[in-house]
């Protein structure tokens, strides 16, 4: 640990730290543009200059200089000030200074730092250079004249995303940032460069000229577009969510979010269910959905349930619902004498008896340190882009990664073993050897694997390879499952898992089926049931429903979510639901009144405490106690070709399907080639 002094203050810098990091430790702010904690060091903006002794008598770029024993660092000398002013002046020479029409205004590093460290005027009177806009796809808007060539975007796409598509062409004052032939940036994390760009060169295309940052109300929320539970911030104005941005959480999403998490929010205002609909029985409009009042709808539900007899009611949870909603429905059903609850809409029936057996046990951060990974049936880029980022880091550190499933375009070095899940019982020798030698082995079972019955065979392997072990006093559990539904782990914790999956619910033929935003259920199997859809978007579920009760989306209610690690996280309400839509729990509470039963809560706080009383783990943010990894059963064996459930990354949930931006992404990035071919 080198001892250095920063402005006379002595501190111990950690091994391998840079001078910039040492200064930060000492509480000194060092201006910077190119340096970013999560990217490699480029050292090309020169904004971070400080004075360091011993060394040449000139300012030094602190971001690229290792801190060494006995260094005397100064950040407050006239030389440093002059150097910063000089660099700032140079950076602004070719910068258009068009802040009033720039979307970055108000949250721009260049603006802030020139106010803090610049000299307040320029001595440059020549012509400035101008750079043409570059097309980078439907998400990223470019105004390249503003670019200061920090190369953060280039490094992000190369290092983090693993898709080299942005580059710096030409040289000197002609340097330009672009994608190859101005093709759209086409990976699931592309829009993160917008946050990274310290100036207004890369800004958000869908959000262009929509709002100024200081007009926005900021709400801490959790992303529901996949089961990673990325920490996000919803920026809203009035009743509309304007944008979603990542929050930093090293355990979950570091500081990235997927393009879907970021841009599906414009779907929150389209195709919304904002009033009650009931399908008419008899009359001229028979079979058509008609507007109705809450009372009429409730009466119809109660009547149908009564006809069906005691307990003839079931609930299916959708992929986006929060734990409170599921708990409220569970309570209501319990009062009515039913426990028919299910969350796996598409018919999966993997064993949910142990939480550890279906969780991402190594933790998201932990998987980075794995040195041998077997992925069974997961197209990770589509199912959990943020986990893909972690896998890439693991591979860069030397992890051997093997995959079973159809080949996809990975962003890391790996080996595809084949498509058949049966391979699990018959792994090639070198794979088994790699796992025997590994210090931190891991298995990841994805949805494709779950569907092919691979869960237990994988657990058997986990046992064989000692995936649960003690590494120098630290517990390691390398058995992981990737889910795709934000609601999945919470649903299982709340008992939304029948032994036989949704088939058990179908077999019970309930008179009333409560669908909590479930859009992927095959409703044909519930022909005889009164299907009540409590949800927010007019999607598949609403089309099949007999009664639609408009509810709130994740942005419009407080709620608890559990991610695929079993991490309990809390999201806050950003805006009010539109029209007649109500928060889901209030609907269920009112329905209880209509049934004349008591569910034991009258407010959200009461509901939450009742839920925490029933499942204490949901009351504590952080990873829930998952229990011990269960032993796998040897039979039945996994078999059959693996298929990935996600065909179109951009359209996986009702919010995204309603989003214009996601539709455009889908058309251009997923189906773009087909469109081109059709045109030819």
């Amino acid at each position: 640990m080198p001892k250095v002094t920063v402005d006379g203050q002595e501190i111990d810098a950690p091994e391998g730290a840079t001078v910039l990091q040492a200064c930060e430790l000492a509480g000194k702010e060092i201006p910077r543009f190119c340096y970013h904690e999560r990217l490699s060091i480029a050292g090309n903006c020169r904004m971070c200059l400080v004075e360091v002794k011993p060394g040449p008598p000139k300012p030094q770029a602190s971001c690229a200089l290792p801190a060494t024993e006995g260094q005397e660092i100064r950040t407050d000398t006239p030389m440093v000030r002059a150097a910063r002013e000089g660099v700032m002046e140079f950076l602004l020479i070719n910068h258009p200074l068009d802040c009033p029409i720039c979307d970055q205004g108000g949250e721009c590093d260049l603006q802030d730092q020139s106010v803090a460290y610049g000299r307040g005027g320029s001595r440059y009177h020549e012509n400035k250079r101008a750079v043409t806009e570059k097309y980078m796809g439907p998400l990223i808007k470019t105004i390249m004249t503003r670019c200061i060539h920090c190369t953060r975007c280039v490094r992000f796409s190369e290092e983090i995303a693993g898709v080299d598509e942005i580059g710096a062409l030409y040289r000197g004052e002609d340097m330009q940032i672009t994608t190859y032939l101005e093709q759209a940036a086409a990976h699931e994390m592309s829009a993160n460069v917008i946050d990274l760009c310290p100036v207004g060169a890369l800004t958000s295309r869908p959000y262009a000229y929509e709002a100024r940052p200081w007009e926005l109300k900021k709400t801490l929320s959790i992303d529901v577009s996949d089961a990673v539970g990325a920490n996000i911030r919803l920026d809203s104005r009035g009743r509309e969510v304007m944008r979603a941005l990542p929050r930093i959480n090293d355990d979950v999403n570091e500081e990235w979010i997927s393009d879907k998490a970021r841009y599906q929010v414009d779907g929150l205002t389209r195709r919304r269910l904002d009033q009650v609909w009931v399908r008419a029985v008899g009359g001229p409009n028979a079979g058509k959905l008609q507007r109705a009042s809450w009372e009429d709808a409730f009466d119809a539900i109660v009547k149908a349930a009564k006809q069906g007899g005691d307990g003839s009611i079931a609930a299916v949870a959708g992929d986006l619902v929060d734990c409170e909603t599921m708990f409220a429905a569970k309570r209501l059903l319990a009062e009515l004498g039913s426990d028919k609850l299910e969350g796996r809409q598409t018919g999966l029936d993997y064993d949910c008896s142990s939480l550890a057996g279906i969780a991402f046990n190594s933790t998201l951060a932990g998987i980075e340190s794995a040195d041998a990974i077997l992925i069974v049936g997961s197209q990770v880029r589509h199912e959990a882009p943020l986990i893909n980022v972690r896998l890439r880091k693991a591979a860069k550190r030397g992890a051997k990664i093997f995959l079973i499933g159809p080949e996809w375009d990975t962003t890391f070095a790996c080996e595809f073993l084949g498509e058949d899940a049966g391979l699990l019982h018959d792994l090639p020798g070198h794979v088994a050897d790699a796992f025997k030698d590994a210090a931190r082995p891991a298995i990841i079972v994805g949805p494709g694997g779950l569907a092919a019955n691979a869960l237990h065979p994988a657990l058997v392997l986990a046992d064989e390879w000692n995936l649960v072990r003690d590494i120098d006093g630290e517990a390691w559990n390398g058995f992981n499952v990737i889910h795709t539904a934000a609601a999945r782990m919470g649903a299982v914790m709340l008992g939304y898992a029948q032994k036989g999956g949704i088939k058990d619910v179908v077999d019970a033929a309930p008179a009333v089926l409560l669908s909590l935003g479930a859009d992927a259920v095959d409703y044909g199997a519930f022909e005889k049931s009164l299907k009540v859809y409590i949800g927010h978007h007019g999607d598949a579920g609403a089309h099949a429903a007999d009664i639609i009760l408009p509810a709130a989306s994740y942005a419009e209610k407080d709620g608890t979510y559990v991610n695929t690690e079993g991490r309990v996280q809390f999201a806050e309400k950003a805006v009010f639901a539109p029209g007649d839509a109500r928060e889901d729990w209030t609907i269920l509470r009112a329905l209880a009144d209509a049934f004349g039963v008591s569910v034991g809560f009258d407010s959200f706080a009461q509901l939450q405490s009742a839920m925490i009383e029933a499942v204490p783990a949901l009351g504590e943010e952080g990873i829930a106690p998952l229990g011990k990894l269960p032993k796998g059963k040897k039979t039945p064996k996994a078999k059959g070709a693996i298929a990935y459930p996600i065909a179109d990354f951009y359209l996986t949930n009702p919010i995204a399907r309603a989003s214009e931006t996601m539709q455009r992404c889908s058309a251009e990035l997923v189906h773009g080639d087909e469109i081109l071919e059709a045109a030819e």
């Binding site: 080299d164 598509e165 942005i166 580059g167 710096a168 062409l169 030409y170 040289r171 000197g172 002609d174 994608t179 190859y180 032939l181």
Partner: protein, 222 residues
Amino acid sequence: MANRQPAPDTPELRERWGNFAFNADYEAKAQKALARYPEGRKKSAVMPLLDLAQRQVGEETDTQGWLPLPVIEYVANYLDMPVIRVLEVATFYFMYNMTPVGKYHVQVCGTTPCMLRGSDDIIAACKKRGMKKGEVSEDGLWTLTEVECMGNCATAPMVQINDDNYEDLTPERLDAVLDALAKGEQPKTGTQEPGRHTSEPSGGPTTLKEMVSENHDYRGEW
């Protein structure tokens, strides 16, 4: 500065160069270049490979050669590199021509030492022969480019034509060189100053004179 933008990506360009591949001769050279770098670092061969590709294009078109986009993609594929990374290299270095050039690429140095020694006249002489900056002359022989210092300041002014330098130029000497090239002859390369061999002081040495003919021991004289 020269125009570094790649030639537009047109169907004709794809048609002409889409099937580009190293011929046996260049393939051997490419393999030799690759062999210089260790396993896992083969990308380092990107510069020699781009050069080889440009030369083969030159042979196929009877010019100095250039790098059409499909050829750049071929090199990227050859090295298993993202094509944007290869394009970055190609657009950075001036030795790679991004647009077609003539059989002889006349690169006149216009940086200060050369300018002081008369590079303006050299450029004027080129223009007088019908060359235009960045364009191929009508007979397909010439392309004129003004470049920055080529490291031959001691024998300024100079031009670089394809792989050779011609130094100590005057408009007349330049004409002689170009005439010879036009006739298909190979003029003497290097300095055009009679009596000068390389970049030794013109008019004879001014220091260490005794060393010219023998290994003189200066030590006693210090």
